[in-house]
């Protein structure tokens, strides 16, 4: 079974926020108004931020000034545990997904997530006038299912999905081309756009994959390891 995982090399990362933007345009997260943004209601599935000096030592042994943070796709996610309706769940390949159709907006998952990666639609997402034209047409659908870049109704929680629609797309493509799907076919948008090439993506179950190799690095660490969530985002600190 594939276990999707991402390695982020903080020595390379330059906090450019290309990942945040790529994510926005890949996943149709809305722009919120300045007032809303000031309230902290901006939606960036992948967020980039400076570490305060007192945390640098706590988080990366003092060896990182900035952090870029997608969903950790924990192996033992606290969010899926508490969801009362199974709107958020971990799929068989370890991706923590979110079904907007089922979500009731109780926000228990958002408070349960220690990484703050889950976002809530305080209002109906909107795009002003012609900006709507750039929305990605990719939508994950099914009976009573809508996931990924599908336009969210107000009042539901959304989050990073490792661009799972790209995985669907690549599987469909492989099938159309009558070949086996290879793990290399699929990368999330943030990995593809990373200006510093600081992101690696692949199968953690395959000991020969880049991510597995890098996970062995002496620079490797994970966020809040003490929380017991076993994140599948593996950071490499500087040095």
């Amino acid at each position: 079974m594939t276990k999707w995982s991402m390695v982020i090399d903080l020595d390379k990362c330059v906090a450019c926020q290309g990942c945040s933007m790529a994510c926005r345009f890949e996943n149709n997260t809305p722009v919120v108004s300045p007032d809303e943004a000031a309230l902290g209601r901006s939606i960036f599935w992948n967020d980039v931020f400076p570490l305060r000096s007192e945390e640098e030592s706590a988080i990366a042994s003092g060896q990182a000034k900035f952090l870029t943070r997608p969903c950790m796709h924990c192996e033992d996610p606290p969010c899926t545990k508490v969801c009362p309706v199974g709107a958020t769940y971990q799929d068989t390949e370890g991706i923590v997904r979110q079904n907007y159709t089922r979500c009731i907006g109780c926000r228990l998952c958002t408070v349960a997530c220690p990484y703050g990666v889950r976002y809530f639609n305080w209002y109906e997402p909107t795009w002003e006038e012609s900006l709507e034209r750039h929305l990605t047409p990719d939508q994950i659908e099914g009976r009573a299912v809508s996931e990924g870049p599908s336009i969210r109704p107000k009042g539901v929680v959304e989050k990073c999905t490792f661009c799972v629609h790209r995985l669907f797309k690549e599987r469909d493509r492989a099938a159309a081309e009558e070949r086996e799907f290879r793990t290399e076919d699929f990368v999330p948008a943030c990995v593809q756009t990373c200006t510093a090439k600081s992101r690696y993506f692949g199968d953690l179950d395959n000991p020969n994959s880049t991510v597995s190799q890098l996970a062995q690095s002496r620079r490797a660490f994970r966020l809040l390891e003490e929380a017991g969530t076993h994140p599948k985002i593996i950071y490499l600190h500087e040095g």
Partner: protein
């Protein structure tokens, strides 16, 4: 026993049956409920667009020029990815590039050509047809030519690499005007002049970061902004983790920023003293004899004292530096401890290949010769350790070869016009300058007659220091045409707005810059132009046809695309391939051996006009000497030279002449460009970029001013206070943010906020720090003054 066993088994079976039965009941109940509500789980699948295309293009949201691949789904551009073929970005895209669909589909774009009705600032427009617009522009230019005053036409232009720059120059030349004025004097001109006066190349140095061991950045904000930030980021990544030995990066800058945060060491330096520090480092290197003797003795000029053609003894770099820049003295000037200077000098010379990097915008534009001289001093460090044209050192940019432009037809009017003095005073008022964009306002106000002004990717009211003067200057210009895509500050004052489509809808080429080897990227319409816009190239070609005569003969092309096809016919591949790949390059930098023919032709001395092109790097600038030869010391002093004699031609430090008294105005104002919003005005109207604009301090959608936190507390300021920043030229009110990584004696305001026009997201948001900068131009070079304005800060 047996019976007991069977009994217990029976009990167990019953119990198990009960459990199973209960679970079964639960499952059945739940399924029943769900089927009642018709909420069965079905297959989950991906629904996507009907038709899709991938079209390559090149970004224009900063000067990097990254290759892009646009995903066009059902006729809409829905996503951009980096073009993996493009060597600048290697498949990556920064936030600006990713957000570019917001530029294309921006609801505030101009939808067609407009003509001003009423007065200059009436803000009232009426639509005009393109044919009429062509007739009006052609009529105006014809009139100027008929009056024998074609030099009264001028164009201010911004970022135009590739054919567009030469095209504009050729257009104005065919009309007969020398006034093709680049905005380079706002940013990279100081570095280019510094390179010209030492290495003899009028271009920016290229840094081979990938192979370098030691990067000493003098105020170059490598990872956020500058000439080619994306290329620097790629190089930085490789330097850090792409190879066996991790390269070291040192940032010398009063502000730490992201580059300083990522650097191994950040050296806060007193603003405007980079030259002294560079020379202090040179002092240690020379004193300890750790310089490249081969280079210094065989391929440089003016290292040792020499007797010139005038038979007098001139001071050389070595003795000048040894006499004047011992680390203790430099410590007094720069605030950098002498021990640090000595250590850095040791590291820099002891870890070849090492590079000293020049700043782009900002750091060098100090308002007197200090800035250019600092560039010379920094380049001299590279020369001293022999990093010129070596792997891991400083390279020289090469370009693709294009066929020659057709010969200009004979045209007396144009010929005469081209000989006239430039509107910006470059070459006359500013003896060393090539462009003095911001000086145009003063020159016009002083009476230089411009009768037709074209603004191509230029918004001087916003982007020139003290740009408000342009409003007054524009009053004196009877005819102003803007090619802006948005109704920006300057376009507001135009008589005609002839909107150019965004870079995602037009044909244009772009040279690949920053890797050394030649290459070209191609911009092509990713989608059909959304509005009634016209490529400025096409427009001007049609204007030449309307003017007719020699002007139209100079442009034998139907449209700009065919011009491009002809100009790019020699790059080594066909048009179709270029269009498909979006880029073509001749990879692999070919190093020239020191003293070889190519060295002389391409690497050292190529662009010298008055001094020998002998392949020698000038520690003592002969070119500068020749240019200023006729001017005596008194005249030079009157112009504002802080030093005289040989010192003027050697890289030297002279104290920055600040505007504003240090006691009254304790801070130096530093306007910084961020990765998020970048340098271009229109990016401020992209809402997603506004939303991520101030990541480092957690600000979004607006301006702020950074101040050292400890010092601010001493002064009684608190984080997020509203404050006034006042310079001798005006004042602004914004939010104060306290940060750790900066010196006490500077304050920073991020660039690209405080617009008064452009669109709903840019307008009336934050402040424009450039407004209160010193508007004066540097008297020798015509460079803008970016970093010599002092300010005071007080609570609002």
């Amino acid at each position: 026993m047996g019976s007991n066993k069977s009994l217990s088994r029976r009990v167990f079976l019953k119990a198990a049956g009960g459990v199973v039965g209960a679970s079964g009941a639960l499952a059945v109940g739940s399924n029943l409920l769900r089927s009642l509500l018709q909420e069965n789980d079905g297959p989950v699948y991906l629904r996507t667009s009907q038709e899709e295309e991938i079209i390559s293009t090149v970004c224009l949201l900063c000067p990097s020029g990254c290759g892009m691949l646009g995903r066009v789904a059902d006729g809409n551009l829905v996503k951009l990815e980096g073009n993996p073929m493009h060597p600048i970005n290697l498949g990556a895209l920064c936030p600006k590039g990713q957000a570019a669909p917001e530029l294309l589909y921006n609801p505030d774009r101009l939808t067609g050509p407009l003509k001003k009705i009423g007065s200059r600032d009436s803000g009232e427009w009426e639509p005009i047809t393109w044919d009429d617009a062509i007739r009006v522009v052609a009529g105006k230019l014809t009139q100027l030519r008929e009056n024998g005053q074609p030099e009264r036409a001028a164009i201010l232009y911004g970022e135009t690499r590739g054919q567009m720059r030469q095209f504009l120059e050729r257009f104005m030349a065919s009309i007969g005007s020398p006034n093709v004025i680049s905005h380079d004097s706002l940013n990279i001109e100081a570095a280019k002049l510094g390179t010209l006066f030492t290495q003899g190349i009028y271009d920016l140095p290229v840094y081979d970061l990938e192979n370098s061991n030691y990067i000493l950045s003098f105020g170059a904000n490598l990872l956020e902004a500058g000439r080619t930030p994306q290329r620097m980021v790629s190089g930085h990544s490789y330097l850090r983790q792409g190879r066996a030995v991790r390269g070291k990066v040192i940032l010398i800058d009063p502000r730490q920023g992201i580059t300083g945060g990522k650097a191994d060491e950040w050296i806060p330096i007193k603003p405007g003293t980079d030259a002294a520090l560079a020379l202090g480092i040179a002092h240690v290197i020379i004193r300890t004899g750790r310089f490249d003797t081969d280079f210094v003795h065989n391929y440089s000029f003016g290292f040792d004292d020499f007797v010139g053609e005038d038979r007098t003894l001139h001071k050389g770099f070595k003795s000048y530096v040894l006499e004047n820049y011992d680390p203790e003295r430099v410590e007094m000037i720069t605030g950098v401890p002498a021990t640090t200077i000595t250590r850095i000098a040791g590291e820099f010379s002891g870890n070849p290949p090492a590079i000293a990097v020049l700043p782009g915008k900002g750091g060098l534009l100090n308002g007197n010769l200090n800035g250019m001289s600092a560039a010379m001093a920094i380049l001299s460090l590279n020369a001293l350790v022999g990093s010129l044209e070596t792997p891991g050192g400083v390279l020289t940019q090469r370009y693709v070869t294009c066929p020659d432009w057709p010969e200009m037809p004979n045209d007396d009017v144009a010929e005469r016009g081209r000989q006239q003095e430039r509107a910006d005073g470059a070459g006359t008022l500013f003896p060393l300058g090539n462009h003095a964009y911001q000086a145009v306002a003063d020159r016009v106000l002083d009476g230089y007659p411009i009768e037709a002004l074209f603004l191509y990717d230029a918004n001087p009211i916003y982007e020139a220091p003290g740009g408000g003067r342009f409003k007054d200057a524009f009053e004196k210009i009877p005819f102003i045409v803007s090619f802006a895509t948005f109704l920006d500050e300057s376009a507001n004052y135009a008589d005609l707005i002839l909107p150019e489509p965004t870079f995602l809808e037009r044909w244009q080429d772009d040279y690949i810059e920053g890797l050394g080897y030649p290459g070209v990227g191609l911009r092509q319409p990713v989608v059909e132009p959304l509005f009634d816009t016209m490529n400025t190239g096409d427009f001007l070609i049609r204007v030449t046809k309307e003017i007719g005569g020699s002007v139209s003969k100079a442009f034998p092309w139907d449209n700009y695309k065919s011009l491009l096809q002809e100009r790019l016919s020699n790059i080594g591949t066909g048009w179709e391939t270029l269009q498909e790949l979006g880029v073509w390059l001749i990879p692999g930098y070919h190093f020239s051996r020191r003293g070889s023919e190519r060295w002389v032709d391409e690497v050292v001395g190529k662009d010298r006009k008055k001094s020998p092109r002998d392949g020698r790097f000038d520690f003592y600038s002969r070119e500068l000497y020749c240019l200023l030869e006729e001017k005596n010391d008194d005249l030079l002093a009157a112009m504002g030279a802080g030093v005289s004699g040989d010192e003027l031609f050697l890289p030297h430090y002279e104290a920055v002449v600040y505007q504003g008294d240090e006691k009254e105005f304790p801070f130096v104002l530093n306007v910084v460009t961020l990765m998020s919003l970048g340098p271009y005005s229109y990016a401020a109207n992209m809402p997603s970029l506004q939303e991520i604009s101030g990541m480092v301090v957690g600000e979004r959608w607006g301006s702020w001013m950074e101040m050292n936190d400890e010092y601010a507390h001493k002064l009684g300021f608190h984080d997020k206070d509203q404050v006034w920043i006042e310079s001798p030229f005006g004042r602004l009110q914004t939010k104060l943010r306290l940060v750790k990584g900066m010196r006490e004696d500077i304050v920073n305001i991020p660039h690209n906020q405080g617009h008064t026009a452009i669109g709903r997201w840019a307008k009336d948001r934050g402040v424009n720090g450039l407004e209160i900068l010193n508007p004066a131009s540097e008297p020798f070079t015509g460079l803008a003054s970016y970093t010599n304005t002092r300010v005071k800060v007080y609570k609002a």
